[in-house]
Symmetry: C2
Subunit: 130 residues, 2 copies
Amino acid sequence: MKKNSSKPAAQFAYEGLDRVIHERARLSVLTSLMTHPNGLRFVELKQLCALTDGNLARHLQVLDEDKMVHITKEDDRGRAQTTVRITASGRKRYMEYLTILEQVVRDAASVVQGNKEGTLPRKLAPLNAS
Amino acid sequence: MKKNSSKPAAQFAYEGLDRVIHERARLSVLTSLMTHPNGLRFVELKQLCALTDGNLARHLQVLDEDKMVHITKEDDRGRAQTTVRITASGRKRYMEYLTILEQVVRDAASVVQGNKEGTLPRKLAPLNAS
């Protein structure tokens, strides 16, 4: 608020970490769908994410309500087949989220590497000027 | 089930995404503390993470109960001064978490690169070089 420099004060707030995506099961579902742009069947998704039927259904509902996934039910020789695809807006939001996630990894990695060499990166100067 | 290669079935489950750390405010707090190994005062932490007093206090309590942070209260010329540091076990857990987070970024980046050039690094530096 008061202190003005080139860095924003809330350097580690990560406000772009979209809560809909950040939840672990949904992050798992969305990453699966990102890596399978042609869509995944319910059973495949369940397996890739190690989720139960109920859990996956619940999270897909959240993502569907948020228009991040598109769910189709088709009849496959008398059996209902559910296929899930990520939508264009879902993809866009996921990529924005990813940019922030990447920043977290970079922020932390810069220190982890700095410690190994016994120095801290310059940008991590103390906050209190006094 | 059917489609299997050398990859485990639950490829995108990310079970190592420690729920205590993954919560956005706590991820923010812990990353701040990782980058300030000498500790941060409550007010500094609050500012870096853009949290309210109540929110920060609540999340610090969770982290303290989990022995991830060490909180000291000192008297500074008549005013109580709270300082927070990450513990050795907190640091260890954070680094394990980071390894998984890095995997998420890599999994997604492998796909994104096909669509959008050069926004994500091909590979982030390894964090777990013990």
